[in-house]
Each structure stands twice: as C-alpha cells, then as structure tokens.
C-alpha cells in the first residue's frame, strides 16, 4: 500500500474520560469569550436612557436601604466602621457573587438554542459570564473607591496592607461562582427543581455571609461555623484591608481557597460530563 498513512485530528466517542477537560480548546476560542462579554455589555444598556449609570444606581439604593433597615432599625454593629462604606463594601462584593452565580447556573438552560445548533467548548459560556460580571464589578468598585477616599480624607477608616489582597479575593470569588454555578447548571439540565432551590437559596445565603453584619458579632459556635463558608474569609479580608475593621485571620482565607478549589474542581468535572449530552435532556 502506497497510501499515505491515514491520520485523524479528532475522535468523537461515546465514552470520554471525566478528566478530559479541553482547556487548550477553550483558549483557542478566546475571541468568542471576548465577543460574549461585549454582547452582554452592549445588550444590557441598549435603549436605556441612563446606560451604564444603572451600574451605580443599584448599589447606591441597596446600600441606603441596608443603612436604614439594618443600621438604624435593627442596629446591627459594623465593627466601628462608618455604616455607609461598610454596607457598600458588602453590597458591591455580594452583587458580583450573586450575579456571577446566577448567570453561570443558567448556562445550559439559557443557551440551549445556541448549544443545539453549533459546537464550541461549552466552558466558554460560564467563563464569559463571570468576566462580564467582573466588568460590572470594576465599574461599581469605582463608586466604592470614591466613597472610600471621602472617608479616608476624613480619617474615619484605617486601611492596611491587606488591600493588596483584593485582586486575589476577586479571583477567588470568581472561581467560587464559576464552580458552584457550573455544578448547578449541569444538574439543572436534568433536574429543573434545582433552579428553584438556587433562586431562594441565594437570598438565604446572603444572610449566612457577613454582608450586612461583621463576623465579630456572631456568638462563638456560629463564628466557627461561619469559617466554613468560603465567602466569610473573602468578605472579612476585604473589609479588614480597606476599612481596617473585622475579625480577620489568614487561616480563614486559606480555608476559603481550599474549599473553593475543591468546588471548582467538582464543578468542571460535572460540567464536562453533562456538556456532551445535555441537548438530549434539557
């Protein structure tokens, strides 16, 4: 036989390894991630009068509401930090987390029509959602910075070196939202009940996270329990670094990192398992 050796560039198989995550392929589709992020950004504000100003309006009003309800009426402590900046910090971070989590958890059900027509690495979608939300977060952080500078000048807060951990904190939160979001998105393709669970679960989860209260006010037993919430370390570290208040220890952050990496790992595996056949069940 003089035929040139037959070679194959790809094999599509019924069985594939659970660990066969094609990150290289995702990288090849980076332009698609960029286009998805751009699409999300454009489509949010087309035909709105205020446009990106809406990014500011949401945290401002939420913060004011919290200030009145939790600060004035319920009189929850803020570890001595000014209420406005304390709540704004919590709201800004929480908005990012909940937005990214809800977005990624709808990956399969929300994009079924595209996924059913054309192939691209499915991981592209949750990644682009997390990045879109990161864009929104960076705009909201500007608002936070403005308020923060005001309090800094008035000498009402005392930030410290942990400010530098902020990018790492944001990354951790992004990975956390990505991991949990992927688990939910994978499971909701078959069991739609989970989207119901997530919808109210995320509201309840906010109260389990130190968004509107400091960890320091928790009684001993709950304080220990709170450490196993991956967001506790992140929120406390953020407030500790920028406002100089709170009950923060690096151990909390290590626990968070560890838990988040495990969840991310589980998330990628479940996602990878479901992405090949979800069109049949969705």
């Amino acid at each position: 036989m003089n035929e040139p050796q037959q070679q194959w560039t790809e094999t599509i198989e019924a069985e594939h390894s659970l660990f066969d995550v094609k990150l290289k392929e995702v990288w090849r589709y980076k332009d698609l991630i960029y286009m998805f992020v751009k699409r999300d950004f454009i489509s949010s504000f087309k035909q709105t009068i205020l446009g990106p100003v809406w990014f500011f309006i949401n945290p401002i009003f939420t913060t004011i509401t919290y200030l009145i309800i939790f600060g004035r009426f319920a009189k929850l402590p803020t570890d001595g930090a000014p209420g406005l900046i304390f709540y704004l910090a919590g709201v800004t971070l929480w908005n990012y987390f909940s937005g990214a989590l809800l977005g990624t958890s709808g990956t399969f059900t929300g994009n079924a029509s595209i996924f059913g027509k054309v192939y691209f690495p499915r991981l592209v979608t949750p990644i682009s959602i997390v990045i879109s939300n990161l864009m929104r977060l960076s705009v909201q952080l500007i608002l936070f910075l403005l308020v923060w500078v005001y309090y800094l000048i008035n000498n009402e807060i005392s930030p410290n070196i942990w400010i530098l951990a902020t990018p790492f904190l944001l990354l951790l939160m992004a990975l956390f939202a990505l991991g949990v979001g992927m688990i939910f998105s994978a499971l909701t393709t078959k069991y739609k009940d989970l989207s119901m669970l997530l919808a109210f679960g995320i509201t309840l989860y906010m109260y389990a996270t130190p968004v509107i209260y400091p960890v320091s006010m928790l009684p001993g037993y709950f304080k220990n329990l709170a450490k196993f919430n991956p967001l506790t370390g992140i929120f406390e570290c953020f407030k500790y670094g920028w406002l100089g208040v709170g009950d923060f220890s690096p151990v909390m952050l290590i626990i968070s990192t560890f838990l988040i990496l495990i969840l991310l790992f589980i998330g990628i595996l479940t996602f990878n398992k479901v992405e090949k056949t979800f069109m049949d069940t969705v």
Binding site: E3, P4, Q6, Q7, W8, T9, E10, T11, I12, E13, A14, H16, Y29, D31, L32, Y34, M35, F36, K38, R39, I42, S43, K46, Q47, S113, I114, F115, G116, K117, V118, Y119, F120, K190, Y191, K192, K276, T277, F278, M279, D280, T281
Partner: protein, 425 residues
C-alpha cells in the same frame, strides 16, 4: 485520504416526558455500573418508526451506522423525516455525543445547522458578523480579513451599523448566510439552510455551495429535501431509513434507492389466492404501480406510467375504474375514470388498465393514488385506501434548481416577441 470515518455509531433517545422517573433510571444505571455491569437501558430500544406505537420508552434514532468519507467528497444525506439525518449531523458537529461508537475526523469541522445562530437583535450587523463568526469557530483576525467580502456577499452594506432587529427577515438571513459561507474549514456540514430566503438568494446560496464543493476541494455533508440541489452539489450519497444506513453510493443511485423504499410503496402486487388480494367480493386488485416512463427515476420530466390489473366478479354491468390523485397535503389533483364497459357487458375476468401521466405535468412533491370502482359511474363497488404513493423529484428549470411553487409545472410554449420601440411610441 479519508476526511471522516464513522464506526458503529448509534444514538438512543428516551421518549415521552424526560424527567419523570429519570432519577430511578439514573440510580438503576449507577447501580449496574458499580457492579461492573452493562447499562441496562442500552439493550432495549426499538427502531425509530414513528407510525407504529412502540412498547419501549427508548428508541434508537440511529443504529450501527458505518461509513467513510474521502477528502473532497460532497455527500448528500437523504432520508424521510425522522430517518435520523439531523441526528447524524448533530453527532458529526459535536452538538451531542453518540450513545455508542466512534467518529474519526481529519480537519476542522464547521457546521451550519441553522444560519444566524447566536445573532443578537440589539447588536449591529457588524458586531453580529464578529459574534456569529466567533461562535462558528473563526478567530477575530480571520473575520477582519474576510469582513468586506462577507458584507459584499450579503448585500446589506447600507445597514451594517444598524441593529439587526431593524432588519427585514431577508436581510437577516442574507447576512447570516454570508458569515457562514465564508467559514474556512476542511469539513463543512450543512442542514437545510437553503430553505430560507427568496428564490434569488437561494440561487446565490446554491451557487456559493457549488463553488465550495467543486472549486475549493473541501469535504461537504449536505442534508436537504431538495433533490435537485443534492444532485447538483453532491457526488455521493448516504441513504438513511429509520435510523439505519440503507444505501451508500454515488448520488444518483442513492436517490433512486430512496424512491424505491418510499413511505407508500410505488408498486402493489398481489400474489397467491385471489381472496387475499386487496378488494372485496366485487373487485380484487392484483397489481397497481407507478413507474417512470423514461429513465430510472420519477422526476418532472420522466413522465409516470400507471398500471392497474384487477379481477372483476360483477358480470353484465357498466364498469368503471376511477383514479383519484392527491398530494400528500390532501389537495386533489384530478379524479378521472377509465370506463371499461358501456353496454352492460362486463365480464368476470382480469382487466388491465394502463396510462401515462405526461412529462412536465406534476411538479415536484409527494402524491398518492386512490381507486374507486363503480357501476354506471354512480354506485361504488369498491373504494380503496391510498394504495400507491410516489414522489416526483425536482429538475432544474433553466438555471434555477430551487423547488418552484405549485402542484403542476407545465412546460409552456412561450411566444416572445421583440417589439421595436418605434412601433409602440
């Protein structure tokens, strides 16, 4: 060199409501897996015949498909609705994975299962070209390089910076197809995209597909119900029937094979004792068939030869056999009778009626015949069910390979006079 090879691929679907009982099946599956046994639900399942009610909840949409495709071939995939064509394309384009089997590919695969996938109404034409291109697997660099060509092909230059929600549906489809047509991939999978747009644009699309298939040496898999387009564009064919590979060969043979195993048979022949034949105590039908009058394929230009043989038990009456032709959409085409006896002199014997439906009469489509035997053209002796059905394939009309509307497609003798403008004014 092969571009693609499919080895024993099958795809199983679960019928009915997905969701009820899934948990119990999943647990059962898991339990079998833990004990190292085979998936219990893979053993069951029926072939995908949607006309009969099956016993199993699981059906095989595709079963044990094997084929190889040479580089540079243009393959037409044909089959009835539900034969598994779209499922096959979905597997090849990785939208979903096979239940069993393997597919080997050599080169980048781009699939066009629907044009305009992912178009966002709020974004401009320009932005959508980039978005859609990226979804189809192009890099931004590639799209930038081809951008002008894409816009020129689509013919919507003027609106390129307008959100596509302001587009007419025609413009939308044009732009979408233009992006898809400029994909650079070694293997291109196309499903029925040509069923969109006006006749003019369809022609343009077919032309482009032709360039891709013949000029650029790429491998193409093409699914369509338009046999003319398939005949023009493809050199080989794959025929699927109820999820199984029924035939593989050059495109013309595949189309002929496809007609042979039509849903309603183009031929009814009875053998054996007379009482077993279709009919009643008055009439027994022995043979009824529709065959091409010229060539091997029923198409618009072949003419159709109809043959009816039957046994008559009613002697001494005025017998007639009425042929009623209907389209699959139940539109009557004609209802006309062969009057067999006029002087009350029918006999107890076998009769044979033959006639030819002239060429250039029926347009492409599915038709069936129904028979009514009568006495004095008033009293029905026997009314048959829809006995034979056949499909008339399309042929090119001039340079146009699209399916033209209408039930009939007559060839008219057009007289074209060129008036001197001086005689009018």
């Amino acid at each position: 060199m092969l571009a693609l090879k499919a080895e024993n691929i099958s795809k199983q679907y679960r019928l009915g409501q997905v969701g009820t009982g899934t948990l119990s099946h999943d647990l059962n599956r898991f339990w079998h897996k833990v004990r190292g046994k085979e998936d219990p639900y893979l053993k069951i399942g029926e072939s995908n015949d949607r006309t009969t009610k099956g016993d199993s909840e699981y059906v095989w949409s595709l079963r044990d498909i094997n084929f190889e495709i040479e580089q540079g071939d243009a393959i037409g995939i044909i089959g009835r609705n539900g034969a598994g064509k779209s499922t096959l394309l979905k597997l090849l384009s990785k939208v979903t994975k096979p239940t069993t089997g393997k597919i080997f590919t050599n080169g980048r695969i781009a699939s066009l299962l629907e044009v305009g996938t992912g178009f966002h109404p709020e974004m401009t034409g320009r932005e959508n070209v980039f978005l859609n291109g990226a979804i189809l697997g192009m890099t931004r660099k590639e799209i930038t390089r081809k951008f002008d060509e894409i816009v020129a092909f689509s013919g919507v230059e003027r609106y390129i910076d307008t959100p596509v929600k302001r587009y007419s549906s025609g413009m939308y489809v044009r732009l979408a197809f233009a992006v898809a047509a400029h994909l650079e991939s070694e293997i291109l999978i196309v499903d029925e995209v040509l069923a969109v747009g006006d006749a003019d644009f369809q022609k343009k699309c077919l032309g482009k597909m032709n360039d891709v298939a013949k000029g650029e040496g790429r491998t193409i898999l093409f699914v369509s119900h338009n046999m003319t387009a398939i005949k023009e564009l493809c050199n080989k064919g794959i025929l699927l029937n109820q999820g199984q590979l029924a035939y593989r060969g050059n495109i013309l043979d595949t189309i002929i094979e496809y007609q042979k195993n039509s849903e309603a048979k183009a031929r009814y022949i009875h053998e054996g004792p007379l009482d077993g034949a279709m009919g009643n105590e008055n009439i027994r039908i022995l043979e009824f068939s529709a065959q091409p009058n010229h060539g091997a394929l029923i198409d618009i230009e072949s003419g159709i030869k109809i043959k009816l043989r039957f046994y008559n038990f009613k002697a001494g009456i005025n017998l007639d056999a009425t042929f009623e032709l209907r389209t699959y959409e139940e539109v009557p085409v004609f209802h006309t009778a062969a009057i067999i006896s006029t002087n009350n002199d029918s006999e107890t014997k076998e009769y044979c009626v033959e006639f030819v439906l002239p060429r250039n009469l029926l347009n492409t489509g599915n038709y069936y015949f129904k028979l009514i035997f009568g006495e004095d053209q008033r009293i029905p002796l026997y009314i048959s069910a829809n006995i034979i059905g056949f499909e008339v394939e399309n042929v090119k009309f001039g340079k146009n390979m699209s399916v033209l509307p209408g039930i009939i497609r007559p060839e008219l003798d057009f007289k074209i006079n060129n008036y001197d403008s001086s005689t009018i004014f």
